[in-house]
Amino acid sequence: MSEALRSLGKLLRRLAGRRGPALGLAFLALVASAATFAGVLPLDPLAQSIADSLKPPSAESWFGTDELGRDILARVVYGARTSLVTACGAVLIAGLIGIPVGLVAGFYGDWRDSLLMRCVDVLLALPNVLFAMTLIAVLGRSQAAALIAVGVAGIPGFARIARAQVMALRQLDFVTAVRSFGGGPGYLMFRTILPNILSPLVVQAIVLASIAILLEAALAFLGVGVPPPTPSWGEMLRTGKSYLYEAPTYAVLPGLVLTLTILSLDTIGRALTALLDHDEAGMPAEAAGGRR
C-alpha cells in the first residue's frame, strides 16, 4: 500500500515539472488553503452593510460588495469551502459505493455483473443535472441533499472504471498466485487487486471532483443547491446575474474563480491520464511490487 502511495507521490512530482499541471496545482493549493484557513483571515462573509451595497472592486474589498453590502471576496473564500466539502464528500460517496460495485461486478463477471451494471445504467438514464435535481425534489433543499445528489451521480464513473480494471487484472499471474495460496474473493478483491488499480481510480477521483464542483455550482445557480445564507459560487452567479448593469464584476469574479478551479482540475486530470497511459507498458512490474 505504501508503495502505491509512493508511486503516487512520484507521479505528483512529475506533474509539477510541467507548466500547465504545475499552474493548476498551484491554483488549487491556493483555493484549498484559503478554504481551510478562511476563519483566520480578516474576512466576514455574512457582515451586511446596506450603505455599501454593490460597490465595485476597491482597496478595501478587492472583489467589490454584493446587494447586501457583503464582501464578495469573503464570500468567494467561504464559497470555496462549500465547493471543496461537496467535492470531497461526493468523491467519498461515489467511491465508497462505486468502487466495491465495480470490483464485485468485474471480479465475478456472472449474473452479479449483469445485475449491478444494469443498476448503474439506470443512474445513467438521465443527464447528471437532471438526476441531481430529481433527488433534491424528493429530499428537499439542503446542503446534505446537494452533497448526496452530486455523490450518487458520480457512482457510475467509479463503478465502470473499477470494473474494467479488475477484468484486466483478474487473470494475471500475481492474482492467480494469491488465489492458489488460499486467498478468498474478498481478500483478492480488496487486498490484492484494489491496491494495484489505485492510480486510475485517483484520476477518476480528480475528474469527479471537477464534475462535483461544477454540478454543485449549477444546482446553486438554478436555486436548488446549498440554501442561503451559506456562500456558494453558483448562488453568487445567480444573484450577480440580476445586477449585470449595476455591478458587472459581481457575477464575473466568482465565476472566474470557479472556472479556474475546474480548468485546474481538468488539466491535472488529463496530464495524469497521459502519464498513466505512457506508463502502461511498465505497469505489471509496478503492479507486482505495489502489493505490499
Binding site: 439506470v122 430529481t134 455550482a217 438554478l222 452567479l237 446575474k241 465565476g255 472556472t259 480548468l263
Partner: protein
C-alpha cells in the same frame, strides 16, 4: 432492420418500467406522502382522508402505479398543482422551444468543432494543434452559466446588440426575430459541445490516419487532400454520429442551466419551476418525457449508425 428496431424497443421496456416506477414512487418518498403534496403539510386528518379517498390514494400502491402508468401511456399526466392546467399541455408548449434551441446549438457546435478537429489532426503536436486543443479544453471547462453571463455582458449590456433574456419565437414564423433570441443561448451551448466534438473527432481522425488503408492510398499516390477529405474523414465521421446524437439527447433536459441563464422557456426551465414550487405531477411528467425522448434518440442514433456503416450487423 425492422426486427432489430423492435428488439431494441423491447430491450428498452424493462429500464423504462423501473425508471417509471421510480418516478411514480418519488412522491411517496416526500415527507407526508402524495396527499400532503396536494393538500399541504398542515392539513387536518379529515381533510387528508377525504382527499385520499376522492383521488384514490387509499388503494394499494401497485394498483395506483398501474393506473398512473396506463394514463401516462395515453399522454394523461394529470393536472399541474400550481397552474391547474394539464401537464401534457404544459410540456407540449415547451418541447418545440427546447428542440429549436438544441438544433441551433448542434449546428454551431458542428461549425466550430469540425474545422477545429480537422486542423489539429492534420498536423498533430504542431503549434496549431496545441492552440486548438487548448480551445477545446477551454470550451469544455468553462461552465455554461458563466460563459452565458459573459456573453450577456458583452452583447446585451455593452454592445446592446442582442436581448439578455430570450423568448421563444418559432423559426418559421419570424426567422430574424427567432435568430436574435436564439443567438446567445445557442452560442453558449454550441461552444461547450464544440469542445466535446472537437476533442472526440481529433482523436478519431488521428486514429484513422494510422490505418492500413491510408498507407495503401498514400503508396498508390493518392493526393493528400483526397486522403484526408475522402478516406479518413468518412471513416472518422462514423463514430462521430453517435456523439452528435448523444449530445442532442442530452439537450432535451440537460440544457436546463443554459435555459435558466437566458430565461429561455424550454422544458428544463419548466422542470426547475416545477421543482421550486413542489409541483409533483409536473415534475413526474417532465422527467418521464425527458427520459423517453432520451432513450428514443439513443435508439435512433444506433439505428442510423448501423444504417450508414454496413459493416455493423443487426444482432
Amino acid at each position: 432492420m425492422t426486427a432489430y428496431a423492435l428488439r431494441r424497443l423491447a430491450q428498452m421496456l424493462p429500464v423504462l418500467l423501473i425508471a417509471s416506477f421510480a418516478i411514480f414512487a418519488m412522491v411517496y418518498a416526500v415527507p407526508g406522502g402524495p396527499v400532503a403534496v396536494i393538500v399541504g403539510e398542515n392539513a387536518s386528518p379529515e381533510e387528508i382522508a377525504e382527499v385520499s379517498r376522492r383521488l384514490g390514494f387509499d388503494r394499494p400502491m401497485l394498483v395506483q402505479y398501474v393506473d398512473w402508468l396506463g394514463r401516462a401511456a395515453t399522454g394523461d399526466f394529470g393536472l399541474s398543482l400550481h397552474s391547474r392546467q394539464p401537464v401534457a399541455h404544459l410540456i407540449g408548449e415547451r418541447l418545440p422551444a427546447t428542440l429549436q434551441l438544441a438544433l441551433c446549438a448542434i449546428l454551431i457546435a458542428l461549425a466550430i468543432g469540425i474545422p477545429v478537429a480537422v486542423a489539429s489532426a492534420v498536423r498533430p503536436r504542431s503549434w496549431l494543434d496545441r492552440v486548438l486543443s487548448g480551445w477545446s479544453a477551454l470550451a469544455l471547462g468553462v461552465p455554461t452559466f458563466w460563459l452565458g453571463i459573459l456573453l450577456i455582458l458583452l452583447f446585451a449590456v455593452e454592445l446592446r446588440l442582442l436581448p439578455s433574456a430570450s423568448r421563444y419565437v418559432p423559426l418559421w414564423a419570424a426567422p430574424l426575430e427567432a435568430l436574435r433570441s436564439l443567438a446567445l443561448p445557442a452560442l453558449t451551448l454550441g461552444v461547450y459541445v464544440s469542445g466535446v466534438l472537437g476533442r472526440f473527432l481529433r482523436a478519431s481522425l488521428i486514429g484513422e490516419a494510422r490505418a492500413d488503408y491510408v498507407r495503401t492510398a498514400r503508396a498508390k499516390g493518392v493526393p493528400e487532400r483526397r486522403i484526408v477529405g475522402l478516406h479518413i474523414m468518412r471513416n472518422a465521421l462514423l463514430p462521430f454520429v453517435t456523439i452528435v446524437g448523444l449530445m442532442m439527447a442530452n439537450f432535451i433536459g440537460g440544457a436546463v442551466v443554459t435555459e435558466a441563464v437566458f430565461t429561455y422557456p424550454g422544458l428544463g426551465r419548466l422542470l426547475i419551476q416545477a421543482i421550486t414550487t413542489r409541483d409533483y405531477p409536473l415534475i413526474q411528467g417532465c422527467i418521464l418525457v425527458i427520459l423517453i425522448a432520451y432513450m428514443l434518440i439513443n435508439l435512433a442514433v444506433d439505428m442510423l449508425y448501423a444504417w450508414i456503416d454496413p459493416r455493423i450487423e443487426y444482432r
